[in-house]
């Protein structure tokens, strides 16, 4: 099945697009400026570009690609810390593949591996734990990153390591948490978003309830969206409909996966293992209060931050790179001076170019080959 073709030719997508276009015309505000909806999640960004969803929307609506790509918001200093751990004698450093190519101030983990350090890509933290069991004389460190989607996997793995007393296993915890991040964007003086597409799989873990403050205190609507192109269009429709009706609510388009209260087992495990940090440093967004988690004291023996010395330096992004402006929606990827020139997926300078979930890489891969809407509709 060719889903792209089926989707583009599909009557359903066009029908939703038409309804959105009709609705948006009745909104006074959209005549003065385009409505801006942020998709918080990198998976949505990927889908939006792959299926050319912006072309299904009237010019009164714009997607702003949010910060929800974990490797994209990883500060360079953290990559340097990873490398410094990996370079210590006897260490096996394990990480998801995505993080291997993120540039640090001097090199990436992939380059450290090429220099002979034992850096291994793993699919799951479970595999990192397995490596630790197989190599009891080595220190095995897993680099934990991601929002609440991957947080339960690291928490459950750490609990398992503690239960089995795998003492040569530790976690370098760089998990980030979505709610304080959205709050920081809402508190920003540049804030001009009209609504949010809520992340699907983060919400699968945390549920829809934690977003309630967005509508209650900030008067912005949020619709939790699935990843299929029709899900995203449907969610945009639901956002516009709220604005037209003068409503402001947290709605759940992705009910088939997202329960209101989230996943209890996952949340319990997260709560047992992690606690909020006072602040966490983001690439391109600076420091955000309470936006990261660290390992609780009771699991201190499994905390790489306590086990290893590391530089812990703040490294600024290269001056010319405008990752911060892209990630907060101030400029579009192609408006960055480096986009497609010195910064490409093969030679990434900023992290947004590394992962397919990053706005820049997605735009680089799919942005230039989008088919104009006129052709799509007339087919």
């Amino acid at each position: 099945m060719k889903y792209v073709d089926e989707f583009r030719n599909g009557k359903q997508a066009q029908a939703i697009a038409k309804r959105i276009a009709e609705l948006v015309k009745t909104l006074q505000v959209s005549k003065q400026r385009p409505l801006q909806f942020m998709e918080v999640c990198g998976g949505h960004t990927h889908s939006i570009f792959r299926y050319g969803l912006a072309q299904f929307l009237p010019e009164e609506i714009e997607f702003v690609h949010g910060p929800g790509c974990p490797v994209c918001v990883l500060p360079m200093g953290v990559v340097d810390d990873c490398i410094s751990i990996a370079e210590q004698p006897g260490v096996i450093f394990t990480t998801f593949g995505d993080a291997m190519r993120v540039p640090g101030s001097k090199k990436s983990l992939l380059q450290a591996k090429a220099e002979g350090h034992d850096v291994r890509m793993v699919y799951s933290p479970l595999d990192a734990l397995q490596i630790a069991k197989q190599n009891p004389q080595r220190e095995v460190v897993f680099f934990g990153l991601g929002f609440e989607t991957t947080m339960p996997s690291t928490a459950l793995t750490l609990q398992q390591a503690a239960k089995e007393q795998v003492k040569n296993f530790s976690l370098f915890c760089n998990h980030i948490t979505i709610i304080p991040t959205i709050k920081a964007m809402l508190d920003s003086p540049d804030m001009r978003l009209d609504g949010f597409l809520g992340p699907g799989h983060v919400s699968m873990v945390i549920g829809s309830q934690p977003y309630e403050f967005i509508s209650r205190d900030y008067h912005r609507p949020l619709v939790i969206a699935g990843f299929e192109p029709l899900d995203i269009l449907q969610s945009v429709y639901m956002l516009v409909k709220q604005l037209v009706d003068g409503r402001c609510e947290i709605e759940n388009q992705y009910e088939r996966i997202v329960p209101q209260m989230g996943n209890e087992v996952a949340l319990r495990s997260i709560g047992d293992v992690f606690e909020l940090r006072e602040f966490f440093e983001w690439r391109g967004m600076g420091s955000i209060d309470h936006s990261g988690v660290r390992i609780r004291e009771k699991y201190a023996d499994f905390d790489a931050e306590r086990k290893f010395s590391m530089p812990r330096l703040k490294i600024a992004d290269p001056d010319a790179a405008q990752c911060g402006e892209v990630v907060t929606g101030v400029i579009k990827p192609e408006q960055c001076k480096l986009f497609g020139k010195s910064c490409t997926p093969q030679t990434p300078i900023g992290a947004l170019m590394v992962s397919t979930e990053g706005a820049c890489a997605a735009h680089y891969h799919y942005g230039q080959i989008e088919i104009p809407l006129s052709q799509v509709v007339s087919r």
Binding site: M1, K2, Y3, V4, C41, G42, G43, S47, R50, G68, P70, P89, G90, V91, I92, T94, F96, G97, D98, G116, H117, D118, R120, M121, V122, Y123, S124, P125, L126, D127, Q130, I131, Q134, N135, Q137, R138, E139, G146, F147, T149, T150, P152, S153, L156, Q160, H201, V202, M204, V205, F227, E228, P229, R256, I257, N263, V265, A266, S269, T356, E357
Partner: protein, 106 residues
């Protein structure tokens, strides 16, 4: 990382650790099922479940039709190959011996 991949639980491999073999697009991979076992139910009650797998953990149940549709889309996004490659590479990481010249701790 955030999209995950659908698979079907085919057997329980380690009841104590709540591990199960899940078939993902023709490839078998051991996955933790703690988050999808119904409270109070035995681990093997999830055999046959279609689940959404994120980095080796089944995080949500889905129905079979939804699984097929999701898989078709993930294929087009290039995510299926990426996930399967990651699983393969991870197996290599598990088999790997330390590079020559690497010093051992202690």
């Amino acid at each position: 990382m955030c999209l995950g991949i659908p698979g079907q639980v085919v057997e329980i491999t380690d009841e104590e650790r709540q591990l199960a073999m899940v078939e993902v697009s023709g490839v078998r991979r051991e996955v933790n099922v703690a988050c999808v076992v119904e409270p109070g139910a035995p681990v093997d009650s999830c055999i046959g479940y279609w689940v959404l797998v994120h980095v080796g953990f089944a995080m949500s149940r889905i129905d079979e039709e939804e699984a097929a549709k999701t898989l078709a889309i993930l294929k087009e996004l290039g995510e299926v190959d990426e996930e399967l490659d990651a699983m393969k590479e991870s197996e290599q990481s598990l088999r790997q011996t330390p590079p020559e010249g690497e010093r051992h701790a202690g």
